[in-house]
């Protein structure tokens, strides 16, 4: 598969600012999805397993 290389970009001239922008979007997306899934989907899905108030003594 030949690629249309119209210019060569070497190591020192290359700053992946497009990637940085995409990854910032990803960071924000992950944060929002996490907060929604944890605090709304999960915490809202009661009942949830909690600790016992008093440990039960069993025979």
């Amino acid at each position: 598969m030949g690629s249309r290389v119209s210019r060569e970009i070497g190591h020192d001239e290359y700053d992946p600012w497009g990637t940085l922008s995409l990854i910032v979007i990803y960071f924000v997306a992950l944060t929002l999805m996490w907060l929604f899934t944890y605090f709304i989907e999960f915490i809202g899905n009661t009942p949830t397993v909690m600790g016992m108030i008093v440990p039960v003594m069993l025979g």
């Binding site: 290389v5 970009i9 999805m33």
Partner: protein
């Protein structure tokens, strides 16, 4: 134009093709089972008994995530080592030997599973030939000993493959002292170190506990222990599926994009992190298990969260490499460069779409890993959603896309149907979006996984937005698109293999990385060091939990006999129990 792989290394190419053949046959059968499941569990079309569903499900798991993925891995890695070290194995007969073990092992496991479709399975090794135990084969469910023997042989074959590549590297090192390990070989060797370490758990479980118990040499085993040993292996294995895709993303995708790998050193760091962290997280598959203390679960959780780092790094490095290619091709702007990428190339598009799905699937993995939030999703249909986004797309779609690039170089034939190939990869993407979306949403309302009939008598799912009917339709639609896509892929591969009077359009040269290995410290190549640290981390994560399990309930459990899953016996058992159950309540 450099020489094709098949012309430079014909003997090795033959081995790679054999491995791919095994891989694709398994893929076809596994895909067929998948569509049967998608239509059955949604109650859209049921033509088998629900009891046989579990035979189908076992086959779907084993044919796809054991045979399809790992046969492809050994083929791909054989190519990667040969091409990057520019030499073949020390003794190619040994190479064929390990391939042969894998072929025999997978064949034995396969017939054990498929015998489950027979009304009268034959008797083998003193028991009915069947393996309705799913890919995880949790005891006390019991399969025929032949199933366990098959799996063990397959694993041994894979082990020997790793040893073969180490031998090749050592031989190369003798002739190239002081040189850095070429990146592709580095990725192969680190993957195999990770595999050696993680597979110890399941090998011990099978050889010491499950196989003797199925042969009636021992009378009992400890189900929590064997389950924990399985998951000692079970998380590492998902990275065994993922890392071949990463190898393609790091070494081939930049070239397909028209650019160069952004950073070789970071690729090495990523693979080292997988060596270190893939195994000591296994307990995150057991958050809901009794018999393992919360403290150990917390440690597994933190280890797992740190295991996000190599994947996060990969996202940046791989996308930066794609961006480099796009800009070299004339792309401009903050986001517009995406349009300059070679979207007409099915190999490129397949890998790019696979990466996109993986980024989303990664989020679902964070949820799974989240210890207490796991209560929300454990054993619900969300989990297969995650599985199909990750191994089902990040891996499978990348392997298919990679095949479009590699198979022409292995056969010396041009790829048949390049446009159809593009349709195929996009179809897979669309199918996965529908199917996993349905699985995630259904899982959140409590629909379980691994069941023939998620429709129950005593309650309805509280679906919220949409309806069960809509969720089922989406799942079936997605599954159907995936099946069509899978068949298209296999047809194109077949046609390409027979497309003899043609020349491939691809060229196998891989440009050097923008930042090469010389920009990284030599210690990254010190594989012995990384193995040592990984070993210590595994001991720290597992010694106490395993000791606790053995101390509490015994190395061989407390009189726990096998439960062979045979259709006939269970029907009588069912009647008996319904009677008893009704009587008791």
């Amino acid at each position: 134009m450099t020489a094709l792989f098949v012309d430079e290394y014909p003997a090795e190419a033959r081995l790679v093709k054999a491995a791919f053949l095994s891989s694709f046959i398994a893929f076809g059968i596994g895909a067929l089972f998948g569509i049967i499941q998608a239509l059955h569990r949604t109650d859209i079309f049921r033509f088998i008994d629900s009891i046989k569903y579990y035979t189908v499900l076992t086959g779907h798991g084993v044919f796809l995530v054991i045979a399809f993925t790992i046969f492809f891995l050994v083929g791909l890695y054989q190519w990667a080592v040969t091409d990057s070290l520019e030499r073949g194995p020390v003794d190619i007969r040994f190479t064929w030997f390990w391939y042969g073990l894998m072929a025999i092992g997978s064949f034995l496991a396969a017939i054990s599973i498929l015998a489950g479709f027979l009304e009268q399975p034959p008797m083998v090794l003193g028991a009915e030939l069947r393996a309705n135990v799913l890919f995880t084969f949790y005891a006390p469910l019991e399969a025929n000993p032949l199933y366990y023997i098959g799996l063990a042989l397959f694993l041994v074959g894979t082990w020997l493959a790793g040893i073969d590549w180490f031998r090749t590297w050592w031989a190369w090192r003798d002739e190239n002292p002081g040189k850095r390990i070429p990146l592709r070989t580095f990725m192969v060797l680190t993957t195999m170190i990770m595999f050696f370490l993680g597979s110890i758990g399941v090998i011990v479980s099978i050889l010491v506990f499950i196989l003797p118990w199925s042969l009636e040499i021992t009378e009992s085993l400890n189900p929590l222990l064997t389950r924990t040993l399985f998951w000692f292996f079970g998380h590492m294995i998902v990275y065994f599926w993922l890392l071949p895709a990463y190898l393609l993303w790091y070494s081939v995708l930049p070239k397909l994009s028209g650019g160069r790998l952004f950073s070789d050193p970071l690729a090495r760091v990523v693979f080292i992190l997988f060596v270190l962290l893939s195994t000591p997280v296994g307990i995150h598959h057991q958050y809901m298990d009794p018999g393992i203390a919360e403290g150990f679960k917390f440690i597994a959780m933190t280890n797992t969260m740190f295991l996000l780092l190599p994947s996060f790094l990969t996202a940046f490095t791989v996308v930066a490499s794609m961006e480099h290619g796009a800009r070299q091709r004339g792309g401009e702007g903050r986001f517009n460069w995406l349009r300059a990428l070679p979207w007409r190339n099915p190999a490129f598009t397949g890998m790019a779409l696979a990466g996109l799905i993986f980024a989303f699937g990664g989020f679902t993995g964070i949820v799974n890993a989240g210890m207490n939030i796991n209560y929300l999703v454990h054993n619900a249909l969300w989990i297969p959603g995650h599985i199909h986004a990750q191994v089902g797309t990040a891996t499978a779609l990348t392997l298919m896309a990679g095949s479009y690039w590699l198979v022409p170089q292995l056969t010396g034939n041009r790829l048949v149907g390049r446009q159809v190939a593009l349709v195929q990869v996009v179809l897979w993407f669309v199918g996965i979006v529908f199917m996993t979306n349905s699985m995630f949403r259904a899982g959140l309302v409590g629909v379980p996984r691994r069941t023939a009939e998620p429709q129950y008598q005593g309650f309805d799912y509280d679906v919220g937005v949409g309806s069960m009917g809509e969720l089922n339709a989406q799942l079936a639609l997605g599954g159907t698109l995936l099946f069509i896509s899978a068949m298209l892929f296999l047809v194109l591969m077949l046609l390409t293999v027979f497309n003899n009077d043609s020349e491939p359009l691809v060229d196998g040269t891989l440009p050097p990385a923008l930042s090469g290995p010389e920009d990284s410290p030599q210690v990254l190549d010190n594989l012995r060091l990384w193995f040592g640290i990984a070993f210590v981390l595994v001991v720290l994560a597992y010694a106490l939990p395993l000791a606790g399990i053995v101390a509490q309930s015994g190395l061989f459990g407390q009189d726990i006999p096998p439960f062979p899953v045979s259709s006939e016996a269970v029907i009588y058992l069912e009647f008996g129990l319904e009677y008893v159950g009704a009587f008791v309540t």
